[in-house]
Symmetry: C2
Subunit: 266 residues, 2 copies
C-alpha cells in the first residue's frame, strides 16, 4: 500500500462543500469515487480543512492510501479526466507512510475577498462578497490585527456548533487593499477585464493552526460592521473578552472565502 498527497483546487459554487453529505455533490465524494475506479476498490480521502458549501479552495490538501502503482503524473491526469471541471487535482505526490492531511497540517491560510464597489463584474461574482457601502479599510485592518495571537474565538463560531475548546492561534490576521480603477493590462488577464471606477478589493487573510466552524466568515462579517461604522472599533476586544456570539457581525457569504494554503512541517 501507498500513501499519496493531493493538492486540489475547486470552485465551490455548486458544491455542498468538502465533506460527504447525505445529499449533493461534495469534493470528497467526487475524489473518492474517481480514486475507487482507478484503485479497483473503495478509497478514503482525508482533507486538511473542511470547507463549507459554496466555499472555494485553490490548494486544499488531501491524503489517501491506495494500491495502484501508477506514477503520480498518470494518476493526476486520470483523476482530472474523471472529475468535473469545477474540481482540479493540481498535484499528486507520494507521501511518507502514515501521512495524514488533517492531523499533520501545521497551519492553514484562508483568504476572503470583499469587492467594495458600486457593482460586481460578472466574471468574478462567485469569488467575492459585494459590499457597496463605504468601508474604512484602515480601521478594518487594525481590528483584524487585534485577532492575531492566541485567543478564545467563541464569539466567532457558528451558533450551536458547540466545540468545547474554542481557543485558537492566528499567526496572521490582516486586511489588504487594492485600488482597482488602475489599468491592468487586458492582454495579460486570465479573465475578461471590466472597467471598475471607484472599486477596491479588500482581502482578509488569516493563517492559523485551526479554525472554528464559520470562524473566518464571522470575523469578516464583524470587520465589515466595524469598517462601515455600524459597530465601534472596540467591538473586537469586547467579543474576545465576553465570548458573545450574538454581538458579533453576521456570517459573511460563502462565495468570498477560499482555502489557499495548507502548510506541513518540512
Amino acid at each position: 500500500l501507498r500513501t499519496i498527497r493531493l493538492t486540489i483546487a475547486y470552485d465551490g459554487t455548486a458544491l455542498v462543500g468538502w465533506q460527504r453529505q447525505a445529499r449533493g455533490v461534495s469534493v470528497q465524494k467526487l475524489l473518492e469515487e474517481a480514486l475507487a475506479r482507478i484503485d479497483g476498490g473503495a478509497v478514503c480521502v482525508v482533507g486538511a480543512g473542511r470547507t463549507d458549501a459554496g466555499v472555494h479552495a485553490s490548494a486544499q490538501v488531501a491524503s489517501a492510501t491506495v494500491a495502484t502503482s501508477r506514477d503520480t503524473q498518470t494518476l493526476r491526469r486520470a483523476l482530472n479526466a474523471m472529475l468535473p471541471a469545477a474540481v482540479r487535482v493540481v498535484t499528486v505526490d507520494d507521501a511518507a507512510e502514515g501521512f495524514h492531511a488533517r492531523h499533520h497540517a501545521r497551519t492553514k491560510t484562508y483568504r476572503y475577498r470583499i469587492l467594495n464597489a458600486p457593482s460586481v463584474p460578472p466574471f468574478v461574482r462567485q469569488y467575492v462578497w459585494h459590499v457597496p457601502r463605504a468601508l474604512d479599510a484602515t480601521l478594518m485592518n487594525r481590528a483584524a490585527r487585534e485577532l492575531e495571537g492566541e485567543h478564545d474565538f467563541a464569539a466567532f463560531q457558528s451558533t450551536g456548533s458547540g466545540v468545547r475548546r474554542s481557543t485558537r492561534i492566528l499567526s496572521e490576521s490582516r486586511v489588504n487593499v487594492m485600488q482597482l480603477g488602475a489599468d491592468r493590462a487586458a492582454d495579460l488577464a486570465l479573465i475578461p477585464r471590466v472597467a471598475m471606477p471607484d472599486a477596491r478589493l479588500l482581502v482578509y487573510v488569516a493563517t492559523g493552526t485551526g479554525f472554528l466552524r464559520h470562524m473566518v466568515r464571522t470575523i469578516v462579517g464583524t470587520l465589515v460592521e466595524i469598517g462601515s461604522g455600524r459597530q465601534p472599533p472596540d467591538l473586537i476586544a469586547h467579543l474576545l473578552e465576553q465570548r458573545d456570539r450574538a454581538a458579533a457581525g453576521p456570517t459573511a457569504p460563502a462565495g468570498g472565502l477560499c482555502l489557499e494554503a495548507v502548510d506541513y512541517d518540512g
Copy 2:
C-alpha cells in the same frame, strides 16, 4: 423621447447570446424586459455586436430610446437590481438623438483566451479554451499578423452563413503571450490564485470594422492548428486566396471569446 447608451458586461456561459431567440435567455431579452418595466412600455435595445451563445462581453455597447426622465445613475442601479448577476450594466449615458449602437460603431475589439497548460484552474474554466498540447506562439502571432488589413475572410465564416460580401478590415490581429508560472501577488488577485507550473496564456486580439459570423473563433481554431504543427504556416495565405472554409481550422469554443471594446467616432 431620449436616446441612451449602455455599456454592458456579461458572462455568456448560461446565455443563448446577445440576440433574442425563440428559446433561452438572451442579454437583449433581459435588458428589454428590465427597461420595459422602468419605462412602462416596450423598449427595443440595439447591441453593437451580436455575440453567440456562450460568448462573453466586458464592454458590449447598446442603444435604446426611452421616455423615462430618471437620471443615468438611477437607471443603471434600477437595471442592475432587476438583472441577474451574470449581466451587469457598467454605464448608462445620454446619447445624441439618433445614436445607433450598431450602425455608428467604428471598430470592435475581441479577445480570445487560450490557456496552454496541463490543466485549467476551476476559477477561469469558463473564460479560456484549454489547449494542453505544445503551441508555437511566435508562429501563431506571425500567422495572425498576416490577417491584418483588408481581406476576403470567406474562409473564416461559419459554413452556410451566406453573407454576400465577406471582405473585412482588421486593423489589429495578433497573439500575445504571458508565462503564468511567475508569482502574482495573491492578495491582489480578484479570483483565487492556483499554482500553474508550465502554463502560458495566449491572447488573440482582433480589432476591426466588422466581423463575419464565427470569424474570430475560426481564426483562433486555425491559428492553433498552425501553432501545434498540424497545419503549415502558409495555410493563412492559402485561405485568404482560395476562400476555402473546409481547409480552415475548427471553430474554437465560445467560452474563450469576449467582446471587449466598441469604438465610436468622437
